[in-house]
């Protein structure tokens, strides 16, 4: 087989705002054979997207290709002028972005945008392009292929939009298709359908592809070979089977290991006496929008949910986006006052709104959010951020605060010197540790963790989970752990509550999750989580009725 792509000693430089140049890609070389799908995998900042973009001869603003060559079908994309590149983009190489919603123009119909590439390059008549688009819609298993082109982007679901953006990329018959994290923003049950569609289109067309992702299990389903990247350098290149089964490089081993966290065994309560639960939520309802005549808000997000959390135990809440799990956390924390129901902490009833709660009650219940950087005030130093809850809840003096901040930073395994920095000067994992430290500063009994690992890379997320376990052992905390990621929840929780469309549908132990006796939706969710097995997607069989009933494709 001939190589379609040959990358040799690629270097990409970026210029910082102090006019200092940094090598963000160092000496990367690899080949892609005709008809092969190669995955670029690595954590954020590893340069995987940057490398993928150089295949189109593109670098992001402030970056430039400073050395090496990127040969695509014998032409050096790194050296061609912009005009020549514009001719090749769409016809030789095409790009499927991470967020399809952001890639579509909301003011044009889908069909107009899908065939735009054909119009720009003058490849065929509009009729022929439409016919070709229809055949692509069918090949990508889109529902109502004849009618979907007339709709606007907001009228189709996220998974459909992602497949439509693949149709947009494929219409010019490119030789190379770049997929940039195309399923990262999708729910697991939706992801399966999109992955299947991509795989079948690529295989039947014999297309060459580059698949950028941080998710090893997703990559395992679609790629022939995997390039593992870290810090702009290639760590390891190998076939999918070799990388998964015999990872040679230590970083790859770490990556594979981080994927399979051990399932937590239920901790046995020390005293057998039936104790009062720590946190009890009874028939809680919450929603958004103006209050209707019946006393309920316009859009209900959480409907009569009961949960109970025992001392020293962890409860996982799992469900897909839009199931109301984050709203539940906000209602418990009093950020969004619930419209109905009761919240009892240590036997005391809490006011619906945080504004009316006792400071002592607020202290015992802390919340940590998904987006670590949005949860830290960018204009304050870490010192100030951690000092505030200490002063607010414990009225500590300046000297006590300084001591306690050092202790807190030790607890979350950060060097004490970070307290002089601002949040923007920390990495994503470090920021999430600061968020945890801020919650710990209050000496809480319960920490609500709202998707706290979802925005982090696999290896970093695994370290945060380990940290949570360690803190629990030392401080006797309880967590309510909200996530869409089943493996994370299984790793830390004693019980799992499954939510669907605002309701809790069952509460079970992690080991029993997805077992035959469970709720059908739990089974669907369980079977939809990608596994580190290249044959998983092909072998996966799901009951179509179940899928139709519960998934929002």
């Amino acid at each position: 087989m001939t190589n379609l792509v040959e990358i040799r000693n690629l270097r990409v430089q970026a210029k910082t705002d102090a006019d200092r140049t940094v090598d963000i890609i160092r000496d990367v070389s690899f080949d892609i054979a005709e008809g092969e799908i190669v995955a670029l995998i690595g954590e954020s900042g590893s340069g995987k997207t940057t490398i993928a973009l150089t295949l189109m001869g593109h670098t992001r603003p402030g970056c430039r290709i400073s050395g090496g060559s990127v040969l695509l079908g014998g032409r050096d994309m790194a050296a061609l002028p912009q005009k020549a590149l514009a001719r090749l983009r769409g016809t030789e190489v095409a790009y499927v972005p991470q967020s399809a919603a952001a890639a579509f123009n909301p003011a044009q119909t889908i069909m107009d945008q899908v065939i735009e590439i054909v119009r720009i390059h003058g490849l065929m008549s509009t009729e022929a392009a439409r016919a070709k688009a229809l055949s692509l819609f069918r090949a990508l298993a889109l529902p109502d292929p004849d009618g979907i082109g007339a709709r606007y982007p907001h009228q189709v679901s996220g998974g459909q939009l992602q497949r439509l953006s693949a149709a947009m990329a494929l219409i010019g018959d490119p030789r190379l298709v770049i997929f940039d994290e195309p399923t990262t923003a999708l729910d697991v049950t939706t992801q399966i359908e999109v992955l299947r569609a991509f795989k079948s289109v690529m295989k039947t067309g014999g297309l060459t592809g580059v698949y950028v992702s941080h998710d090893l299990a997703v990559v395992a389903q679609i790629a022939d070979r995997i390039v593992v990247l870290k810090g702009g350098e290639v760590q390891e290149i190998g076939t999918t089977a070799q990388i998964l089964e015999h990872p040679a490089h230590p970083y790859t081993q770490q990556l594979v290991a981080a994927f399979k966290p051990a399932t937590r065994s239920k901790t046995v309560a020390v005293d057998t006496v039936k104790r009062q639960p720590l946190l009890e939520v009874r028939t809680l309802s919450a929603g958004y929008g103006p209050i209707q005549p019946n006393g309920r808000p316009l859009a209900m997000a959480v409907n009569a949910v009961d949960i109970t959390l025992e001392h020293g135990q962890n409860l996982g809440i799992i469900g897909e986006s839009g199931c109301g799990k984050s709203t539940l956390a906000r209602a418990i924390a009093g950020i969004l006052p619930p419209t109905d129901g009761h919240i009892l902490l240590d036997g005391r009833e809490l006011a619906p709104s945080a504004r009316n709660r006792q400071r002592e009650d607020l202290r015992k219940l802390q919340i940590v959010f998904q987006f670590a950087d949005a949860a830290l005030n960018p204009s304050k130093s870490i010192d100030d951020i951690l000092a505030r809850p200490l002063g607010f809840y414990h009225s500590m003096s300046k000297r006590d605060r300084d001591q306690r901040i050092d202790q807190l930073l030790d607890m979350v395994h950060l060097p004490r010197t970070v307290k002089f920095r601002r949040p923007s000067e920390l990495s994503g994992g470090q920021k999430q540790r600061i968020n945890l430290a801020r919650a710990l500063a209050a000496d809480p009994k319960v920490i609500l963790c709202d998707e706290i690992t979802s925005a982090l890379d696999t290896v970093v997320a695994a370290a945060i989970i380990d940290l949570l376990k360690e803190l629990q052992r030392e401080l006797g905390l309880s967590y309510i752990f909200i996530s869409h990621d089943l493996s994370v929840v299984q790793a830390i929780c004693d019980e799992i509550a499954v939510m669907y469309a605002g309701e809790k549908i069952e509460q079970i132990e992690p080991a029993a999750f997805g077992a035959a006796g469970g709720h059908p939706y739990s089974r669907l969710l369980h079977s939809s989580v990608p596994q580190l097995n290249p044959c998983w997607l092909d072998a996966l069989e799901q009951d179509p009725e179940l899928v139709n009933a519960f998934s929002k494709r």
Binding site: D17, A354, A375
Partner: protein, 281 residues
């Protein structure tokens, strides 16, 4: 590159040449405003030349005005009114606008609704007309001018600050502070203000320019600073008769207004930016 001790780069800021030029012109006029009484060669009310609209000469560096008064002295003293009144007015307008805007964004609900509608109504009155009516009714004095200008420019500042604060208010770190039980004053002062300070300062610079222009406009119409004192706008008006002769008496105050407003714009468009990349010290 040789670096001197107070170089902005050394302090961790990047500041370009255009911004520095703007800043130096502003500092120049501010110094002039402060030290004007010590600098003027002649008292501003005295008629010192027999000729009117006199040209530039060694005796009268910027010529003389329509009554034969020394132009240099009048411009130096005019800086006090133009820079002083405008600065006081812009400080008042931005302080009240920003404070109200942030409160409205954080409090929301009816407080926000009523305040917004009220200030929108105020905003809908044309600014020059409003200034004319107030000054004509109450009479022209320094406090009246400052207050009128401040009232005219508060709604704009309020709108701007509220729009910024609403965005910050929806960020998770504000939610965290709310969940912690923080009160409105802390939310405004500690969580929101530091994050909107940059744009608010830029807005303050812009508004300063508008106020200088409006004050000059009012003075041009005879409703601003009263004779024998004169701000730059008044200087242009009283010497407008010299325009056909190309008298410096009308050109120089115009240039002074232009130099101040343009340099404020140059500065706010090129405010020092904090360098985040600390790796090479």
């Amino acid at each position: 590159m040789a670096r001197f001790a107070l170089s902005p780069r050394r302090l961790g800021y990047r500041f370009n040449a255009v911004g520095m030029i703007g800043l130096s012109v502003i500092v120049f006029w501010a110094t002039v405003a402060v030290f004007a009484p010590l600098l003027i060669p002649y008292p501003i009310g005295d008629i010192v030349d027999y000729d009117y609209f006199g040209p530039m000469s060694a005796q009268f560096l910027l010529g003389t005005d329509y009554l034969g008064r020394d132009m240099l002295s009048r411009i130096l003293m005019g800086a006090r009114y133009t820079v002083g009144i405008s600065l006081a007015a812009v400080a008042l307008a931005c302080f009240s606008g920003v404070a109200l805007g942030m409160s409205a964004a954080v409090a929301g609900g009816w407080f926000d609704a009523i305040l917004s509608r009220f200030l929108d109504a105020l905003n809908s009155i044309p600014s020059k007309l409003f200034g004319l009516v107030v000054v004509a009714a109450v009479g022209s004095s320094m406090p009246v001018l400052v207050l009128t200008l401040a009232v005219i420019y508060t709604p704009g500042s309020y709108r701007f600050a509220r729009a910024l604060a609403v965005n910050i208010n929806s960020m998770d770190f504000v939610t965290v502070a709310r969940a912690r039980g923080e009160k409105t004053l802390y939310l405004i002062g500690s969580e929101i203000l530091p994050n909107i300070l940059g744009p608010v300062l830029a807005d303050l610079g812009l508004r300063f320019v508008f106020i200088v222009l409006l004050l000059s406009g009012l003075s041009f119409l005879g409703l601003g600073v009263q004779p024998p004192n004169a701000d730059w706008g008044a200087l242009v008006r009283e010497n407008i008769g010299g325009l056909p002769f190309g008298a410096p008496a009308v050109m120089v105050p115009s240039l002074a207004i232009a130099s101040l407003t343009i340099s404020v714009n140059m500065l706010i468009d090129n405010l020092p930016v904090k360098i985040r990349d600390r790796s090479n010290g």
